[in-house]
């Protein structure tokens, strides 16, 4: 049980009136009774305004002696005070200067009450003149028979002025009380590393704060043990950098060289994660941090999970709801080169599950938005002409990540992910078909994944519709797609060139050769659309397309992959019909339950300069 007795005395029969003491007590009382601040018991706590000494003694009896097992007893006093006859006295309504021992509440008397009832923790806050004089009474409690043994009460005292100082009040309240309330209610920062504030740390903060007012607040802590318990900390974990500071602090010491070597980059990436996303930069950083762990599977997985949690926490502050899943994906992909042991495989599965859960949640939000507003895929702020470039990319990414989520989901979330993909796909085809176009070759991996998911779900009509839309857009621009890494400031030049059909000023912005056509022609073959598309290949006579085939898909987390093969074809030179291309295509096959399959698929969506060819190849292999 937590009990508060707050006393504020404005009215005095034998002394000058005060203006704010009652209000001070009321504010402290109201604040500490709030569940989110002090959680003091509203039934057992008492507020007294300008009471007499008898009323105070009665209140003390009621709060201290009529309740048992008091975990925390807090006593607050605002009013006149002074040292007299070797003791500090708190003046009440009927206190007389020459009869303080009888008519004022001495701290010694309060201590004797506390000695007898022994609440586990007692807090005494006195906002009165000369309150530092309470040191005179400490001898009452500083006895070995009263404190020092196990279970003996702990005591914290704050006096808002020194023994030889006055405590001031303003129209806004007592100076000391205001400072204390600022700490309790979060207007002033004490610390953010613990969820609970201790009265000692509040006292130290208050002491510094009210010094300019000529008051020297003093705090004593006697027989303190256990965790702090005065009130909740309103500033706990409000620092957006808390999670990274925690990560760095608790990183295993034997492999902290990676942290030290990448310290600046870690903070740089973390600091802007809620505003900017760069997959290459993030994966490079995570890869560097995890490098020393690669010899130890458990350490690698443990560190990867910590990184995912830490950076996800920051990413969740972004307005872009995909930021956090992209972080999880980026960390997961960095485990690709180390797959093959049970602990790392388990760690990778865990991160994939985390990613799937996050995307499922995002999809749910998206579907809900789609039902309310068909323009929900446009940005809430900004937008405009830039969407002529960004929207097609956004649509392909949304569909691709929804498709990837279905492909990578475990049985428990498979059905939900499936329904979400279908709903989002059909919504996009219905309302955004004009923007389901190839603008950049960076979309190649997205088309591969979307079409794979669609074909896995036998959504052949929808898949055919998408192939035709994207193929038509390639015919329209004659295969002049922008480079996957086009600088943002050049996107407008590209758009204008595309609109005019004149790329002479944008030659350096065009991707040559493109991988998008390699995706579409294979999809057309798998969907038996090849004879339809064959009739239109003449329109891209001369267009070169390609495929980079890695030595291993486990390399799909490397920013630059060495080895492997680049294969080229040219419409009108060695490809006149889709079968000419398919006839010379080498199938890549991976099991779709394989971790390499899932992580390299995720890696291709993140890095956008590589395609998971094994996705559609599974359907080509069935039909061949």
């Amino acid at each position: 049980m937590r009990i508060l007795l707050a006393i504020g005395c404005n009215a005095y029969e034998h002394a000058d009136s005060l203006y704010s003491a009652e209000d001070d007590a009321r504010r402290i009382f109201n604040a500490l009774l709030k569940p989110e601040i002090g959680q003091f018991d509203p039934e057992c706590s008492l507020l007294l305004e300008s009471p007499t000494i008898e009323q105070v003694r009665l209140a003390l009896r009621k709060t201290l002696f009529d309740n048992s097992d008091i975990e925390n007893f807090t006593f607050f006093f605002a009013g006149h005070g002074g040292v007299s006859s070797g003791s500090f006295h708190m003046w009440l309504r009927d206190t007389g200067q020459k009869t303080q021992s009888m008519t004022a509440l001495s701290l010694g008397e309060l201590f004797r009450f506390l000695n007898e009832t022994s609440p586990r923790q007692s807090n005494i806050i006195i906002d009165a003149c000369q309150s530092g004089g309470l040191v005179s009474d400490l001898g009452v409690i500083l006895k070995p028979e009263l404190i020092g043994d196990v279970g003996t009460p702990a005591l914290t005292l704050i006096a808002t002025s020194a023994q030889n100082q006055n405590s001031g009040e303003t129209s806004a309240g007592g100076i000391g009380t205001n400072a204390i309330l600022d700490c309790i209610e979060g207007r002033d920062f004490v610390q953010d590393s613990a969820s609970v504030l201790d009265l000692v740390e509040i006292g130290r903060r208050v002491s510094k704060k009210i010094e300019p007012y000529g008051q020297n607040a003093i705090v004593w802590g006697l027989n303190l043990y256990g965790p702090p318990s005065f009130c909740r900390n309103p500033r706990f974990e409000t620092d957006p950098n808390t999670s990274l500071r925690g990560l760095i602090h608790h990183w295993p010491a034997d492999i902290d060289v990676a942290i030290k070597d990448n310290y600046n980059e870690i903070w740089d990436v973390y600091g802007v994660l809620d505003r900017q996303w760069n997959a290459t930069q993030f994966i490079t950083l995570v890869g560097a941090i995890l490098r020393p762990c690669r010899e130890n599977g458990l350490a690698l997985v443990g560190c990867a999970e910590r990184l995912a949690v830490t950076f996800s926490a920051k990413a969740m502050q972004a307005t872009d709801v995909y930021r956090s899943p992209l972080v999880s994906a980026g960390v997961a992909v960095c485990l690709l080169p180390s797959l093959g042991t049970s602990e790392i495989d388990a760690g990778a599965e865990f991160l994939i599950c985390k990613l799937v859960d996050e995307i499922v949640a995002v999809n749910e939000l998206l579907i809900s938005s789609m039902k309310e507003n068909k323009y929900c895929l446009l940005p809430k702020d900004g937008g405009g002409f830039v969407e002529l470039y960004q929207l097609p990319l956004r649509i392909s990414k949304i569909l691709a990540w929804a498709g990837a989520t279905y492909i990578c989901a475990q049985d428990s979330t498979k059905e939900k992910a499936k329904l979400q993909f279908i709903e989002i796909f059909r919504f996009a085809l219905e309302h955004y078909s004009g923007s389901i176009i190839a603008v950049s070759d960076s979309q190649a991996s997205s088309w591969e994944v979307i079409l794979t998911a669609a074909m896995m779900l036998e959504l052949n009509d929808e898949a055919e519709h998408l192939v035709c839309l994207v193929f038509k857009s390639i015919l329209t621009c004659e295969g002049n797609l922008s480079k996957f890494d086009i600088p943002p400031e050049k996107a407008l030049v590209y758009l204008l060139s595309r609109q005019r059909g004149d790329y002479s000023n944008a030659s350096d912005l065009i991707e040559r050769p493109i991988e998008t056509l390699s995706v579409l022609l294979r999809a057309a073959k798998a969907l038996n659309l090849d004879s339809v598309l064959d009739d239109y290949l003449w329109e891209i006579d001369g267009l070169r397309f390609a495929c980079y085939r890695p030595t291993s898909y486990a390399n799909y987390s490397y920013i630059n992959m060495e080895g492997g093969f680049n294969e080229y074809w040219e419409v009108g030179f060695d490809v006149f019909r889709i079968d000419d291309f398919i006839g010379s295509w080498t199938l890549s096959l991976l099991e779709d339950r394989d971790l390499v399959y899932k992580l390299s698929l995720v890696g291709s969506l993140l890095l956008e300069d590589r395609v998971p060819w094994f996705c559609l190849d599974a359907f080509l292999s069935e039909s061949s």
Binding site: P513, W538, R544, M561, G564, F565, E567, W569, G572, D574
Partner: protein, 212 residues
């Protein structure tokens, strides 16, 4: 204190430096692209994102010259910098253009030469008897290029200065019979190119008119 002197800067803006160097890289890249464009249309330049090996699985007969690395370096002395010698910039660009350009041109001719050796498309001017006769023999071996709009382009002729002067002189002094023979060969080659183009287009399922 002595160690500290080695690692401090005085009013150095590293972000400015990075952006300036990026613009310098772009400048040099444009110089190289201009050189390359004299021998190879920018639309024919392909980019590798990963790996270095490349192939044409549907046309294995196509000559593959492989990938080469071209490199150059330029030094600017500390003395030149503190003397504010801006001509060092221009000298850098000239040197870069010369060095990288030479490497590129050498690669172009070397690749063509190897391709010709492989295909047998080689004419010995000594055996032919003269440059003009060798030229006729070359035309016989060549196929003229034709684009998809039916426009025929004649082969570019690259000669060294002495060979160019000699060739020009011979062509100016050529007999009417020779010129007639030359025109006849050209006409035949153009017709062959057009026929090849018709054949090529016939390989498509359809060619010309309407769209999706």
């Amino acid at each position: 204190m002595e160690n500290k002197k080695l690692f401090v800067d005085y009013f150095v803006d590293s972000v400015f430096v990075e952006k300036f160097n990026e613009s310098l890289r772009e400048c040099l890249s444009k110089i190289q692209q201009r050189t390359m464009a004299k021998y190879c249309s920018p639309e024919n330049a392909q980019r590798l994102k990963h790996g270095v090996d490349f192939s044409n699985p549907a046309a294995p007969q196509v000559f593959n010259g492989g990938v080469e690395t071209h490199a150059t370096h330029f030094e600017i002395s500390l003395e030149s910098i503190i003397a504010h010698d801006v001509s060092a910039l221009e000298n850098c660009f000239i040197s870069f253009q010369k060095e990288m350009g030479e490497q590129f041109i050498r690669m172009v001719y070397s690749t063509i030469s190897k391709a010709c050796d492989q295909s047998g498309n080689v004419v010995d001017a000594n055996k032919s008897g003269s440059l003009s006769l060798a030229f006729l023999e070359m035309l016989e071996k060549l196929e003229f290029c034709i684009d998809k709009n039916g426009v025929v382009s004649f082969p570019d002729i690259h000669l060294g200065t002495d060979a160019f002067n000699e060739f020009t002189k011979e062509m100016q002094e050529a007999t009417p019979e020779f010129n007639e023979l030359l025109e006849s060969v050209k006409g035949r080659k153009i017709a062959e190119a057009q026929e090849r183009e018709i054949l090529r287009k016939s390989k498509f399922a359809r060619y010309g008119d309407s769209s999706i």
